[in-house]
């Protein structure tokens, strides 16, 4: 009976909605954007807009390449040369590719220099490094998390800690993974990454950009002052979030009873917009670039425009071991962790953060 009930329950989702103003001193938007490290897809929707402005278009096209390597052994990530060249200069992110967070071993390198390994029980017992059990395994822990601070290690290369870690990675249990890498640097060393990882089949990829114009779109009417919305005058943040998801899936918003796929109805009150511009960028995207994009969208309202608001949505990798900062992320029935900015023309913004079941509350 208990099993049946458990199977019928939907896993919990958490949606946190905030509102603030970009000009406000204590606005946390920069911090939140920059601590969400592994971003998979960025989309923005601009109603009443037919073509992208030149600045936005150049930004989108220039969002920066990301690289993939095959069979990179872990001990390469703790060498002194690697730390000095890449981790200390700029922000370097890495994530294992094609590994499921709940089954396999996953490794992520965060821009602040922490190497996070999320290992299954047998691998953890063989590496011999100190870690702690994951918060989302049951009574008998199946998943363990080891966190290594590379900045700390590089201070003293002769320490017992460094020797033990390198012994474990080189001799005891050499682990190899396919990685996705991205590096944001302020210098001019463009090609060093390709040269450094040349032994591991490094390939450069450009993020995929999809631009489209949606015609005759029903948009809900929003008022920036009230998140909860008023019954006849504006929609609530929750309704807006659902509507945005329906638009991204290109679902019909008419609530036709004979429609098999979707009976979703646009929340009322709504207005029909002649055209809206939808742009989606897919790849391993750095948080710094997203911040630049957000700033540019804020400046969209510098000239008076018809649109009442614009939205920017960022989705994270389902298999990333961390969500925001170093909070653990798990895949229960859908490992989503995403955030959405709604920017209004008076520089107000709404921020909605959504996480799935095996996640902590977003900051």
């Amino acid at each position: 009976m208990a099993t049946l009930r458990r199977l019928q329950e939907a896993p919990r989702h958490l949606l946190v909605c905030e509102k603030s103003n970009f000009g406000h001193d204590k606005s946390r938007h920069k911090h939140l954007v920059e601590t969400h490290y592994h971003n998979y897809r960025v989309s923005f929707l601009i109603p009443e807009c037919g073509l992208l402005s030149k600045e936005l278009k150049s930004l989108v096209m220039d969002i920066g390449p990301y690289y993939s390597v095959k069979n990179l052994p872990l001990h390469e990530l703790i060498t002194d040369e690697f730390i000095n060249r890449f981790v200390k200069k700029g922000s370097f992110s890495a994530l294992t590719y094609n590994t499921s967070i709940d089954e396999d071993n996953t490794v992520a390198l965060l821009p602040n220099g922490k190497l996070i390994l999320s290992l299954d029980k047998d691998t953890y017992e063989e590496t011999g490094l100190q870690g702690h059990p994951s918060r989302y395994s049951g009574r008998k822990s199946m998943k363990f998390v080891i966190s290594i601070d590379l900045m700390d290690l590089s201070l003293n290369l002769d320490s017992k800690k460094y020797r033990r870690i390198s012994w474990s990675f080189k001799e005891k249990k050499p682990l190899k993974f396919d990685f996705l890498l991205a590096w944001h640097h302020t210098g001019t060393e463009e090609s060093t990454m390709m040269a450094y990882f040349s032994k591991y089949h490094i390939q450069e990829h450009q993020p995929k950009v999809a631009l489209s114009t949606v015609r005759e779109l029903q948009c809900p009417v929003l008022r920036s002052s009230g998140l909860a919305g008023e019954p006849e005058e504006a929609c609530s943040a929750l309704e807006f979030f659902d509507w945005l998801g329906a638009v991204f899936c290109s679902a019909d918003l008419n609530n036709e009873p004979y429609n098999f796929i979707s009976t979703y109805c646009c929340p009322q009150p709504s207005a029909v917009v002649a055209q809206a511009f939808l742009c989606t960028i897919t790849g391993f995207i750095l948080p710094e670039k997203i911040h630049v994009l957000l700033e540019q969208l804020c400046h969209y309202f510098d000239e008076p425009k018809l649109a009442p608001w614009v939205t920017l949505t960022v989705q994270g990798f389902a298999d990333s071991p961390v969500a925001w900062r170093e909070k653990e992320h798990g895949f229960h029935k859908g490992g989503e962790h995403l955030y959405n900015f709604v920017v209004f023309n008076n520089q107000d913004y709404w921020l909605q953060m959504a996480v799935g079941a095996n996640d902590d509350c977003p900051p």
């Binding site: 029980k121 953890y124 017992e125 063989e126 590496t127 011999g128 100190q130 870690g131 474990s168 005891k172």
Partner: protein, 221 residues
């Protein structure tokens, strides 16, 4: 006593109470006739046996068994007393790795003899079976897998084996005490690597040679 309770009437008393004295033979005949009348369906032998009143014996001993006398044997020391006597401690000046290398050579020779020469084509099953019963003092043993990460990687020569623990001396002359439970150990001889699952091995070395191992439970740590 009987005399105090019973005594024959004197003649005078008999006359007073009008009791007629019968002769003893006449008395016996009278009693027999009376009995026969009252218990007519019993035979003469049954009457006799009733009168004689044989006792019924409940237990029948052929001979008296000697009581087992408690033997006086020496009690032996408890574990606490043994530890206090420090019989099995190795003094610090003797704790040097180089001192135990000849022991390791001896052990290798012993294993080679046990397995009738370790050729590269010997069956691993045979070696495993022999190792189960063999004594492991002097083997170079290392921890491959353990629930506690700090034990992993400890390598050294086995000095003592007790019921739950291995005492190992490492190359840096540290005496390490490793509990057997929840650990997997590796023994290597001449290119044959064997894994020992410590949780199934919780026996004194002396008892292990006589024990039959059954595959029960899982080998998951």
């Amino acid at each position: 006593m009987k005399a105090a309770i019973y005594h024959a009437f004197s003649h005078k008393e008999a006359k007073d109470h009008d009791v007629q004295e019968l002769g003893s033979q006449r008395a016996e005949a009278f009693v027999r006739a009376f009995l026969k009348q009252s218990i007519p369906h019993m035979s003469q032998e049954d009457c006799e046996s009733h009168l004689q009143r044989k006792a019924v014996i409940l237990e029948y001993f052929t001979r008296i068994k000697p009581k087992p006398r408690p033997k006086k044997k020496s009690k032996g020391l408890s574990a606490k007393q043994r530890r206090d006597m420090r019989l099995f401690d190795i003094k610090p000046e003797q704790q040097r790795y180089s001192l135990f290398l000849p022991l390791h050579e001896l052990w290798k020779q012993y294993i080679r003899d046990l397995c009738n020469g370790l050729k590269p084509d010997t069956q691993p099953q045979m070696i495993q079976a022999k190792l189960l019963k063999a004594d492991l003092h002097g083997a170079i043993i290392s921890v491959t897998k353990s629930k506690c990460p700090s034990y992993v990687g400890v390598t050294g020569i086995l000095l003592q084996e007790t019921k739950h623990v291995f005492k190992i001396i490492t190359k840096e002359d540290h005496l390490k005490v490793i509990p057997k439970l929840n650990c997997v150990f590796t023994i290597e001889i001449d290119d044959f690597i064997s894994y020992i699952y410590g949780s199934k091995f919780q026996l004194r070395a002396s008892e292990r040679s006589a024990k039959k191992f059954k595959a029960k439970g899982s080998i998951d740590l």
